[in-house]
């Protein structure tokens, strides 16, 4: 933390950044909150610890519009998120100073977040400066998805339907997602109206499935959608299932390799095509 603060101070003094996005101690709640630090502002209340679960990448597009150069504190998973934004040209790397922090896991309500158990990326894949320990990369397990895959289709539908029925369509999942940035979201489109606006099972199911498909090969599994869901719908499961499919078919895990183009937006002659090969069960 000391090193991080020192580096940020230096970056400000050298004019290399105009603002730094990080976490600030929030005395009102005893937690931390996302904060933009500017030159000559104190860094004393800047923190990085297990409470810093929020993925800050979602704030970057607004900030790079306001500042010439923005520093950002990144956990490993957030770094993957940043990569997805860079390869989709939503943000230009030239405006970002990536401050990677070796992450030992973050917490939700004092307990280690589920995503951290499966974590294979403890250090941001893109980092101009690295702080703290850098653990070895692991292969992802997708254990949670495999659990679901063992269910019969009827059981599986029941499992998800019970959750989807509770959705209030507050769109917190969409709003916090760095990769959900359509100018007009499909849920808001009137012509054609793909998804009915009311919070009922059929429309809610449409919403969550469409969102998951739109994120296939793009979602870097920051897990924020699941964390912010006020109804605790296990949204990460949907994304993980598609992440697993993409990994099996293309050997790609979104966001882990800088500059790797999302597999579903390019055509390679080696791409598997189960449908054309008649292997689709």
């Amino acid at each position: 933390m000391k090193e991080l603060r020192k580096k940020i101070k230096e970056l400000f003094e050298n004019g290399e950044v105009d603002a730094v996005l990080g976490y600030r101690e929030d005395p009102a709640t005893g937690g931390v909150k996302a904060a933009v630090f500017k030159k000559d502002e104190t860094l004393d209340d800047m923190v990085f610890d297990g409470r810093c679960i929020q993925n800050l990448v979602n704030y970057l597009p607004t900030l790079v519009a306001r500042y010439r150069k923005v520093g950002v504190v990144l956990k490993g998973c957030d770094g993957r998120s940043l990569v997805t934004q860079l390869v989709e040209h939503r943000i230009s790397k030239s405006q970002i100073i990536a401050l990677g922090i070796g992450c030992e896991g973050v917490e939700i309500d004092g307990r280690e977040a589920e995503k951290c158990g499966d974590c294979a990326t403890h250090m941001s894949p893109v980092a101009d400066y690295e702080f703290g320990e850098k653990e070895e990369k692991k292969e992802p397990t997708f254990a949670r998805v495999e659990e679901i895959e063992k269910m019969s289709p009827v059981e599986r539908w029941k499992f998800f339907a019970d959750y989807f029925a509770k959705c209030e369509r507050c769109y917190a999942c969409r709003q916090i997602c760095p990769s959900c940035y359509c100018e007009i979201c499909i849920a808001d489109q009137q012509e054609p109206k793909w998804i009915e606006p009311s919070a009922k099972l059929s429309a809610n199911t449409m919403w969550h499935l469409i969102r998951a498909y739109h994120l296939a090969g793009r979602c870097a599994d920051c897990g924020e959608c699941e964390r912010v869901c006020p109804q605790d719908i296990p949204l990460r499961l949907l994304n993980n299932a598609l992440e697993k499919a993409v990994h099996e078919m293309f050997g790609v895990r979104p966001g882990t390799v800088p500059e790797e183009v999302p597999p579903l937006v390019v055509l390679n002659k080696d791409d598997p095509d189960r449908i054309l090969e008649g292997k689709n069960e």
Partner: protein
Amino acid sequence: MNKWHKIKKTDLQKYVSRLAEKWEVWIPRLVDGKWEFGIYDGARDLDLPESIIDVSLKNLFFPKRRAIATFDENSKWSLQPVSPERRPRIILGLHPCDAAGIEYMDKVFLQSEYKDVMYKNERERTILVGMLCNKMGDDCHCTDRGLTPDSTSSMDVAFVNEGEWYFFRSLTDKGKRIMESKYLKETDEGPTKNEWPAGKYSIASPEEFMEMYDDSIWHELSDICLTCGICTYACPTCVCFLVADEKFKGKGERVTVWDSCQLQSYSRMAGGQNTRKTPASRVRNRTLDKFAYSHLRYGRISCTGCGRCIMVCPLKRSFPQLGARLSERIREKEKERTKVPAESKEE
């Protein structure tokens, strides 16, 4: 003033069971760790939370999704208004802030040129039996909003939890209808009155808020807000809605659905223009609506101090804290202004 009646705590369940023979009785129950209202079926022991119920009563009067008419998709025109539910019901165990929320909805839906007859029907078929709070929850701040945990406004019957007894008192003619019971005994005693401390989120006046429209603080106040809609859905006085036609297998319904001013789609017009495109403009709209516009329209600010917006916020942002921060800024500005000589007041 009607007399107090007392009932032994151990008799409450019996009393409610008797009521449930004649009425649809709604009581708070714990579902997946959250308190919400559900129909009493006698299956579980009655348990009344002493303070805030997680899910507001809004849905019982103005449902999330409400069919107002039905139609046959294959016809060009067959829109028929739905017929209203008439069964009388009792909602028991709501708190003063819940009643205040209903009072505000009454202003929107009933004290207007066009009455919402469906809402009116829900109100008319309901007897509100409110339980005064014994304590304030972590996020409660009704005392900052002109209420106290023992306000009885808009209730038909109010009751107080004290020692081994509940003290009941009817406040309206409607309320009297449930006071006839062998379990309720008229008494000359009454519950003790509590003193409530002033709260932590005091705010400026509506007029002062109105002055803040063009202030740059809205960017600060909206900086980390996701602009999702959950605070508005949880809020007992956020009643914005959209009208849509929904179809399924040949049958169609025209519905009103809760909408949220925090969502970008809310103010987008056909053709794509959007009057509230930025998060700052949406946060401003909601804040001013709660603390100023509502007062100018209906004579009362629409925040009841229930604190549900804090409880549901994915980022644990505190809306009342935001109001307090804004008020602080108002006072700062006021100080600056008083320093400036009168002739240079022009802005």
